[in-house]
């Protein structure tokens, strides 16, 4: 299971990806799934079990994720925050 993190802008996505990669996290950049809409077309996908940690790391650098979705087994998305 994974979590999709949405940000306000592509700049924030790029910064957040860098921060998470520096921390050795397995992050992936993905196009925002059609089911979810956002102003920015790219999002970060992280394994669900480390998503809380990821949010902390991002927060420490003054970046904030606007929305967070959990991708379920059937490919459905559940809004977490």
């Amino acid at each position: 299971m994974t979590c999709i993190l949405l940000f306000q802008s592509v700049h924030q996505v790029m910064k957040a990806e860098k921060v998470l990669k520096e921390r050795g996290m397995a992050v992936d950049l993905i196009p925002v799934p059609r089911e979810i809409s956002s102003d920015c077309g790219v999002a970060i996908e992280v394994p669900a079990e480390v998503s809380e940690k990821a949010l902390c790391f991002i927060g420490e650098r003054g970046l904030s994720c606007v929305e967070c979705y959990q991708r379920g087994d059937g490919g459905r998305f559940e809004k977490k925050q």
């Binding site: 592509v10 996505v13 790029m14 950049l29 993905i30 196009p31 790219v42």
Partner: protein, 196 residues
């Protein structure tokens, strides 16, 4: 009923045999025998792309694929016309998508290839030229995406001269090394060339 034994044959041979058999046939049925899952999937996909229904039967470790072909009526497109219409080539002449900031271009490229994976219409070929060959080489962050596209039947051609220039010849991880002859021909024969 015609039977073609493709056991022990590596791809793309079974697909080529199926193509040839279907082209010869105006109406009726042909059975292809293959001994591996990849060949089964490739032949099945090919037949379906030609509008021919397939039934698969597993016998021991072999697969018997019965492909049916209906007589093409007047006004209906033939197999080869259909095939041509589906021949879309995506031409990537850079590792970045679009002209402008490279970091953004890199993100857009990742996003583009992943989206391609989600879409039902798939290109038949992906051609990587110049810095585009970084995408199919070790360390690329779209390797998994390209591997999945390749499994889905998209042929990925990386320019050999370009791999050599960037010192990536030993580092190609997906698809095949190609040359200008094949690339030029593929571009000419494509029904559509997409350059995102």
């Amino acid at each position: 009923m015609k039977e073609i034994d493709c056991r022990g044959q590596a791809c793309p041979y079974p697909v080529l045999m199926a193509k040839e058999a279907l082209e010869r046939l105006t109406e009726g049925e042909v059975t292809l025998i293959v001994d591996n899952v990849t060949a089964r999937e490739n032949v099945e996909r090919f037949a379906k792309s030609q509008g021919c229904p397939v039934t698969v039967e597993k016998r021991g470790s072999d697969f018997h694929l019965r492909i049916q072909k209906e007589k093409s009526r007047e006004g209906h497109e033939t197999v080869s016309e259909k095939k041509d219409r589906g021949n879309i080539v995506v031409y990537l002449n850079s590792r970045f998508l679009g002209i402008g900031d490279e970091a953004l271009g890199s993100i857009l490229m990742r996003s583009y290839l992943k989206t391609l994976l989600e879409l039902e219409t798939k290109p038949s070929r992906l051609i990587l030229i110049n810095s585009g060959v970084w995408l199919s080489s070790e360390g690329s962050d779209v390797l998994e995406t390209l591997k999945t596209l390749s499994e889905k039947g998209v042929e990925i051609l990386s320019c050999g001269t370009c791999l050599d220039f960037y010192g990536l010849k030993e580092k190609l991880k997906v698809g095949v090394v190609s040359n200008m002859f094949t690339i030029a021909q593929a571009l000419l024969e494509a029904e559509r060339v997409v350059r995102p």
